[in-house]
Structure formats: C-alpha cells, structure tokens
C-alpha cells in the first residue's frame, strides 16, 4: 500500500487494513510522524509536541482502533508528555497521569502521535491565542483554523493525523471543524469523562472527536465515551455506539430555528451568502432524502451568548486559580515576588497568562463578586435553564412553531455551524467580534446536548469573505441521542459528498504573512514515547 493511498483512507479503513495485516501499525505511525515534520506541515503549527515513537508493548494491529495514530489537544493530561493548555503558565508541565478519554483511546489501540496547539486554556475561536504560536488553516494558510481546538482540526484536515481529540466548551470542536472542512462532534455533557482535561468551564467542557468522516467520529467516540468513577459528572452513553450506515432520512423531522438561522444573522454579524446558500442546499438535500423540515422557535437562544460569557468566565476564574506559582506552572522571578506572597501570586499570573485569559478571569471574578452575583451569575443561570427547557420542549414536541402555532415533534435541529468561513489571521481584533463566532454553537453547550458539525460546501458566492473555504452544517439532538444523531449526519454527509482532499495537498506559505498573531513561533518539541 503506497503512501498516498494511506493518506486517502479513513481512520476506519486504515484500522481495517491493519486488522487485515495489510498495514503495519509501526510503519503507519512512522508515516504520520514523518509527515507531521515536513516543512509544509510545520508551517501549519498544528503540534506542540510529537511522540518519538509508538509506546512499547502496544499490540495495535489487533486492537479495535488498529494502531491508527491520534492527535490530542494540548489540554488533555498525558503522562510523560507536556500538557500545557496552550499557555506559558504551564510551559513544560508534564503531568503524572493520563486523562481518561486519552487513556481509553490509547487502550483501544490509537497511539498518541502528538499534542495539538490550541487557544490558551481553550479560550478563543481562532487558535491565535496560543503561547506556542498561531495555527494556520490548511485550506488557506493566511486564515485561522478556528478554535480553540484549531491544532487538532487543522492537523486532521491537512492529513497530518487521521483523527484527533478536541474539547468543546462553547463551540471549540464544532467551529474549527467547520472552518477546516472536517467532522467535529461535541457529545452530550457527561458522555465522555472530563478527568484529566485541564478545565476551562467545568459545567460546559466536553471532549469529542475531530475526524474526516462521521463514521470515524463514531468509532473514536465509541472508544472514549463511558462513565468514569474519577468524574462525578460523567454518565457515559446509554448504549454502545454502532457505526452509522444510514443513507436515507425517511421519517426524520429537522427543525430550523428562527433564532438560529438567516433572519437571526444580524446579531451574529450576518450570515455570509455562501454559508446561507450551502445551508439551504443542505436542507434541500435532506428533504430529497425523505426528511421533513419544520420552522421552529427557540425563544431564549438569542440570550445564549450573553449568558455563556458570564458563566464560562465565572467558572474559569475559579478553575485557573490553581495556577498561582506555588507548586507548578510559571513562578515569577521578580524581586518583590520573591519576598511577598501576594506579589508572587500577582506577578506570576500577570506574566504567565495571556491577554484573553486575563480578560476572562477578570470578567469571571467580577460576576461572582458580592453584590453582583445575582445580577450576573444568578441571572445567567436562569437563562441557561430556560434555554435547556427550550430544547427539551422542541425535541418533546412541546415547542412552538415560528408563527406561534403548536409545533410538531422535532428530531434534530439544523443550523449553520458558524456565520462565516475562516477569517484571516489577525483580522478579528475585538473580543466581542471573536465571541460572536460561538453564536450558533453556544446554545447547545448551555443545554448540554450533542451537536455535530459536518462540512457542507465551499464558499464563493458574491459577498463572501473568501472563496473556496469550507462551510459547516450543525446538527443537534436531544441529550444522549449520539447514536441517531450520527446516523442522520452520516446520511447527510453521504449525500453532500464533500471533498476535503485539497487541504491534504501540501501548499507552501508562499507570500503569506501573519497579522498580529501573538505567541512565539512554533517549533515542535520532540518527546519520548508517551
């Protein structure tokens, strides 16, 4: 089997080839490891650490995942390998244990190829806010891959790794998947253990797969999902995931929410014409496969972003308090910091955290402060409850149709994953503008329900911000509906027939330039076997 053949195989097919003895897992690993170090791959800056080789004693060829190498977002703890969450604060930090989700993938036979770059502490939508340099989009290296799981998304899209783990708090798997033309699934909150994930916002964080196909996503999710006694909020999935094979949508009802579609574009800065056209084409395709489309309402969805940017920073301000320079992480060498405890805290944190992280810590600290708690945190929790209730009613057939009439029961909700395609590095400078990237993904995060982004076309309409950039379709379902959700996603994926291969053909940076992308230049740290 030739090199280019491997590159065009899905993870599932690669594993099957390994099972059949047609592929040696060691050579497979070496192939991807070598590919990730080619100059054109290094320019993408997907990885902050690469494994030296396959861990000893792995019998990958017989394992369910067949030795197909895995990229893992930096914020997952991996014993023996740096786990830095994209932050100077944790530069060089090597944890003594491995996150449950990663361990399950390793145990199922997906060896760790490398750790992928991300926005610092998963706070961002562009993977520009990374202490180890910005990541570039393989479809256009002047553009961002989305974020915060941008390293994982770009690496999968560029064929540097067959699949990867990311995390999604408000859209951090789905939006980069959309920007990079791949599949990204945020499971139901609690489906996958958070143990070993360096926390951003604990009540929202959820690990999930980024892959080139829906079936690959199902395969990887099946390996990592499950109840974990080390995470009291984990529950696992109700039943084992089968690999989706559905190709029709007979009897399926999709909802399109007035608040999360073209009419609502204004708040999100407007849905691009190409995105809207691709979305509408996906709806037509769904109907042609037998699905019904219903216009529905999620009355509180427009409040989701505001609630999210109270709740997530509040939790983050507490989760990040442990990075105080006492036992791990950056400690300031400043003279005053050597003498005074609180100066040490302040100086270490000032030096170790980036601007966006500091912004959210301050925001979160403020909304939890005495006298402000009820007005901000308390109010945002109420909004969150209302949004979860909106979704519950929608999927239970208790929702309202767009014009006030009773709505039929809806099986899944369809939205664009993002209002735009990937933007240029440095193009979005306003924090609020950046937060708007999460407009379509945050409601599902607040409700804790599963949602998947699959590629549904390329931009190129008059008025689009770019041409030839991937567009994502988001499909959301009720809590723990991963099985049926993946089935309908697979049917749509097959009908859409998206071609992601252009991103895998290495193209040099050429005259590319970086506009104000922060962080030091990339460079991959080489490690021993994880």
């Amino acid at each position: 089997m030739g090199v280019s053949d491997i590159l065009e195989l899905s993870a599932e097919a690669t594993a099957a080839a390994a099972h059949a003895g047609e592929l040696d897992p060691g050579e497979l690993f070496a192939f991807y490891r070598s590919r990730a170090q080619e100059p054109e791959a290094l320019e993408l800056n997907c990885f902050c650490w690469l494994a030296a080789g396959v861990p000893d004693g792995s019998s990958a060829a017989e394992a369910p995942l067949g030795g197909v190498p895995l990229g893992v977002k930096d914020l997952f703890c991996t014993a023996g390998a740096p786990s830095q969450s994209g932050s100077l604060m944790l530069k060089g930090y090597i944890p003594p244990y491995t996150a449950t989700a990663v361990q399950r993938a390793l145990d199922a036979g997906a060896p760790l190829l490398g750790k992928t770059n991300q926005d610092e502490f998963a706070m961002g939508s562009s993977t520009e806010h990374c202490a180890f340099g910005a990541v570039r989009n393989p479809w256009d290296r002047n553009r961002v891959p989305g974020g915060s799981s941008g390293g994982s998304a770009a690496a999968v899209a560029a064929g540097l790794v067959p699949w990867a783990l990311g995390t999604d708090t408000g859209g951090s798997i789905r939006q980069p998947a959309s920007f990079c033309g791949i599949v990204g699934l945020k499971p139901t909150y609690g489906a996958v253990s958070r143990h070993g994930m360096i926390a951003f916002a604990s009540s929202l964080d959820q690990a999930g797969p980024l892959s080139r196909s829906v079936r690959d996503a199902a395969l990887l999710l099946g390996a990592i999902a499950g109840r974990d006694r080390r995470d009291a909020t984990s529950v696992g999935l109700p039943e084992p995931l089968a690999l989706p094979q559905r190709t029709d949508l007979e009897g399926v009802t999709f909802g399109v929410a007035r608040e999360l579609s073209a009419q609502a574009g204004a708040q999100a800065g407007g849905i691009e014409p190409g995105v809207q056209a691709a979305f509408e084409r996906a709806l037509e395709l769904a109907m042609s496969l037998g699905a019904r489309i219903e216009e529905v309402s999620l009355p509180h969805a427009a409040l989701a972003l505001s609630a999210y940017y109270v709740l997530a920073p509040a939790e983050a301000s507490s989760n990040l308090a442990r990075f105080d320079g006492v036992r791990f992480g950056h400690r300031s060498g400043d003279e005053r910091a050597r003498r005074e405890l609180y100066a040490m805290y302040a100086q270490s944190r000032s030096e170790g955290f980036g601007a966006e992280v500091k912004r959210r810590i301050m925001l979160g600290t403020y909304v939890l402060s005495a006298g402000y708690y009820d007005a901000y945190y308390g109010q945002a929790q109420k909004v969150r409850t209302l949004i979860a209730e909106d979704f519950r009613r929608l999927f239970a057939g208790e929702g309202r149709a767009a014009r006030g009439a009773a709505a039929p029961k809806v099986d899944f909700l369809l939205t664009p994953t993002a209002a735009t395609v990937a933007f240029e590095l440095g193009a979005v400078q306003s924090p609020w503008q950046m937060y708007l990237n999460d407009y379509f993904t945050v409601p599902m995060s607040l409700a804790g329900i599963p949602a998947i982004s699959i590629p549904c076309g390329l931009s190129g309409k008059p008025g689009d911000s770019a041409s030839g950039m991937p567009i994502g379709l988001q499909i959301a379902g009720p809590a723990f509906s991963e099985g049926p959700l993946l089935e309908v996603a697979h049917a749509l994926e097959q009908a859409l027939g998206f071609d992601g291969s252009p991103a895998r053909r290495h193209r040099g940076l050429g005259h590319a330039h970086v506009n104000g992308a922060g962080g030091e230049a990339g460079g991959i740290h080489q490690g021993g076997p994880a």
């Binding site: 914020l75 997952f76 703890c77 786990s83 969450s85 944790l90 930090y93 944890p95 003594p96 244990y97 996150a99 958070r194 143990h195 070993g196 994930m197 360096i198 926390a199 916002a201 604990s202 009540s203 006694r229 080390r230 995470d231 009291a232 909020t233 509040a314 939790e315 301000s317 507490s318 990040l320 308090a321 442990r322 105080d324 006492v326 036992r327 791990f328 405890l341 609180y342 805290y345 600290t365 939890l368 402060s369 005495a370 708690y373 945190y377």
Partner: protein, 480 residues
C-alpha cells in the same frame, strides 16, 4: 456583677474519621511523613476532579441526626475562592446556602447548620518558633489537605466562657460516642472558632461581634473568650466601639492579635461546584445513619437520672465521659450478680468520688488494678455493712496499689466492719470512760461533743466501726 452580657456562638470544625479523604481515595492519617498521602486530586493538579466520599456524607447525616437537625434531601457543594498556599486549587470545596443539615439543638444550644467541606493543607513555618511572623521559609504538607470536615455552627446561645467550654465538651463527647471523629484538639481533629459580642444586660439586640480563631484546647478556648469579653467590656466602658474583626488568641501571652479587619474580609465569590452533582439523600441513607447512632451523652444523662436516680451532676459526669461511663456500666453489670446488689447510685458515687480522684488516668484501661467488677464487690461489702466507709477506703487504697479481691483484703488486713456487738459495746464503754468531760457535755445536750468519743472508737477499731452505729451506741450507753 458586670453590666454586660456576653453573647457567644461557636463554629466547630470536626475532622471525620473516614478511611479516605473527602474527594479522593488518599488515606486519612495523622503523623505520616509529609506529602506521602497525596494524589492529583488533593494536590489540585490540572485536570483532576473531586468525587464525594460516601462515608463522609454518612457521618454528616449521623451528626445531623444526633443534633436533631433537619436533613436536606438535596444539598450542594460550593467553591469558596481565595488564594493561600495551603489551598492547592485556589478554592475550598465547601457548602454554602444549601448545606447538608440545618437547625437542631444540643442541651439548650441551638444549632444553625452542619455542613461538609474539605480541610486545607498544613503550613509549616521554619524558624521563629513555628509562627509565620519572622519565619525564614514556609513549607506545605498536603497530607492533611482534603481531609473530610464537618463544620457545626451554633446560634449565639452561649453566655459565658465556662458555658462555652462545658458545651464544647458535651459536643466532643457526643461526636466521640458517634465514632465519627477522633475529636483530638491537640492534633487538630476538633477545632473551634468563637464569635463573641457583649450587650447591656437586659438588651435583646446583638452587639458587634469579633471572631476568635482556632483555639486548640478547652482551656485556651475558655481563656480566649474570657479575655475577649474583658477586652470588649473595657472598650465599651471607655466609651469606644467594638470593631468587627478576626482575632488570634496567643495562649502564651494571653493577648489577642488582630488577624484581619472587616475591610480586609475576603469576598469568597461562592458559586456552585460544577465538578460535583448535588448530594441526594435517600430515605435509606437517613435510616442507615439513624441506625448507626448509639445512645448519646445527653440522652444517657437523662436515663441515668430518671431510671437510676443519679443526681444531675453525677449523671452528667458519667454520661459525658465515655471511658467513665463504660467503667460504670461494667461495674453495674458485675454488681447485678452480687447479693445483696448494691445501689447503682452508691457505685456511681464511689466511682466518681473515691476511685476517680485516686486513679483518673487508669479508667481508660478499665481501672487498671481496680477493674469494674472489683469496685462492684467493694461497694457491695460496704452496702452489706461488712465494710465501714473508712474500711472500704483502706481496702480501695490497697487494691489500687496491689490489685486483689476486696473481701480477701478486708479479711487479711482485719478491716472488716465490727460485727461483734459485744466488742463494739466494750470499745464504746472504754471511749466514754476515757472522755468523761465530753460524755458529760453530751448528756447535757451538747450534741457536737460526741465527736471525740466517736473518734476514740474509730481509732480503736482502725476504722472498721460504722460511724452511725457508734454514735447510736454511745447515746444508748449514756442513757439518752
């Protein structure tokens, strides 16, 4: 009498005697090598998550029921956020507005709430005799970090330092009886803070309170509160106003130092702990906790009073001290087999007034040379009139020194009560003859004058004679 009434409330932290920590499976142990009982969870390493200890919840429910609290079917953990090196996560997982238990009462002192939380790590300050001020460096031992704690908060129902001390002793006895904690104040498994204010006698309003931190013995607690009451009285007497602040009592100097003022008070930014689901209490859990509760000291004191007719003070003394009560119960059981059976009250009195002052330290080991059955036998001899009080004391001394059977000791030492009436009559006659002046006075109606004659008989009998019988015989022989 002071013109001011002190108003005192206590906040008590109790380390639970669970096998493992509150949110991880590290062992709970005192005195292990520093930083050997740790894991990613109790070190607050990135990515580590807490999982609540079911045994700690069980103990919390036992305590709540023992104090008559209302148990919340659903309670939640909160994060209490502040920076300090003994707090590895930058927050303590505690409970806030939805605690495990609310309300309750113990011996007239109302309970405000009972909640679960985790202990901080231990700071060790090197140099400057262990205090942080002037120390050269500080070390952190995370062994204690994450130990399960129950915090018990009382209403401000205590009115003096002594009352606070006595009540805390009762609480400690109750917790010890429950078996939920070692309740050792020196090792820090029981720690008390006191909220103290004063107000004019007769007033029903609460004054400005101060908080006294971590007094690690009953004596320090009582001294600290007394010192704070005196300080506040002096301030108010001098025309000043008490400031709301947190104070540290230095037992060495007896002085109170300000730790922080109201302005320096932390804003803990409490919010629900997202890593932990709500604590849901089922009827089965409540039942299981109730079934695990033994007879508690206050109920026991009532029973001793009501069914054994022990006086209030004696009943409380025996009931509130576990080792004393265990001895008493064993002694009572042994007495049941004796004929005639001595009165429980007599055994209790001899335990409290005769054995305890002579052998306080040995009661923990079931009396050492005087096991419970031996005391029962001794008291039975006394009750049967075979030993006088004086004779019984002498036998007890001998038992304490060498052990042995009280009847045998009495016989061997010739300490048995004089049962030969002829011999006693002869001794009385001799005593009257030897004290003619006293005899005359007694005849003349001066009852007190009988003392020297009785003393003469007691000396002659080496205490074997019964005082009352002797007095009666003297009066008889004097023709009265």
């Amino acid at each position: 009498m002071s013109a001011y009434e002190p108003v005192i409330g206590l906040e008590i932290h109790v380390q639970l005697a669970t096998a493992t920590k509150m949110f991880c499976s590290c062992a709970v142990a005192f005195g292990a090598e520093p930083n050997t009982l740790t894991c990613p969870v109790c070190l607050g390493l990135p990515g580590a998550l807490p999982v609540a200890n079911a045994q700690a919840v069980h103990f919390g429910l036992m305590i709540g029921q023992a104090l008559g609290s209302e148990l919340a079917p659903r309670s939640i953990f909160h994060r209490k956020n502040y920076f300090y090196p003994d707090l590895p996560k930058g927050y303590q997982i505690s409970q806030y507005d939805e605690p495990l238990c609310r309300g309750g009462e113990l011996e007239g002192v109302r309970i405000h709430r009972v909640h679960l939380e985790e202990d901080a790590a231990k700071l060790i300050h090197v140099g400057a005799s262990g205090r942080i001020h002037g120390s050269e460096t500080s070390l952190v031992d995370f062994n204690r970090g994450g130990t399960p704690l129950v915090e018990i908060v009382t209403e401000p129902d205590l009115r003096s330092a002594e009352q606070a001390g006595a009540w805390l002793r009762l609480l400690r006895a109750t917790l010890r009886e429950l078996g939920v904690s070692d309740v050792n104040m020196e090792e820090g498994s029981l720690r008390a803070d006191a909220n103290v204010s004063i107000r004019p006698v007769g007033s029903t309003q609460l004054g400005v309170k101060t908080e006294l931190k971590n007094m690690n013995s009953f004596r320090f607690l009582e001294r600290g509160i007394a010192a704070e009451i005196a300080r506040q009285e002096a301030i108010v007497e001098g025309g000043g106003e008490v400031a709301q602040e947190t104070l540290h009592f230095d037992p060495a100097s007896g002085s109170l130092e300000v730790m922080r003022s109201k302005e320096q008070a932390h804003d803990y930014r409490y919010f629900p702990e997202p890593d932990l689901p709500p604590v849901l209490i089922s009827e089965a859990m409540v039942k299981r906790a109730r079934a695990a509760i033994p007879e508690l000291p206050s109920a026991r004191a009532r029973r001793l009073r009501e069914t054994l007719a022990l006086p209030e003070q004696l009943a409380r003394q025996l009931a509130f001290r576990g080792e004393l009560y265990a001895y008493f119960e064993a002694s009572l059981a042994a007495a049941g087999a004796l004929q005639p059976t001595p009165e429980p009250r007599l055994i209790a009195t001899w335990l409290s007034e005769e054995l305890l002052p002579r052998a306080a330290g040995e009661l923990e080991t079931q009396g050492g040379n005087v096991p419970p059955a031996a005391l029962a036998q001794l008291v039975a001899l006394l009750a049967a009139g075979r030993l006088s009080v004086g004779g019984a004391r002498q036998v007890l001394e001998r038992m304490l020194a060498e052990g042995g059977d009280p009847a045998q000791i009495a016989a061997a030492e010739g300490l048995e009560a004089l049962s030969d009436e002829g011999e006693l009559a002869r001794m009385v006659a001799e005593a009257i003859a030897a004290n003619p002046q006293a005899a005359e006075q007694v005849r003349a109606g001066e009852g007190k004058a009988i003392g020297p004659i009785v003393g003469h008989v007691m000396r002659a009998s080496r205490g074997r004679a019964d005082g009352q019988a002797v007095s009666a015989l003297i009066r008889e022989q004097l023709g009265l």
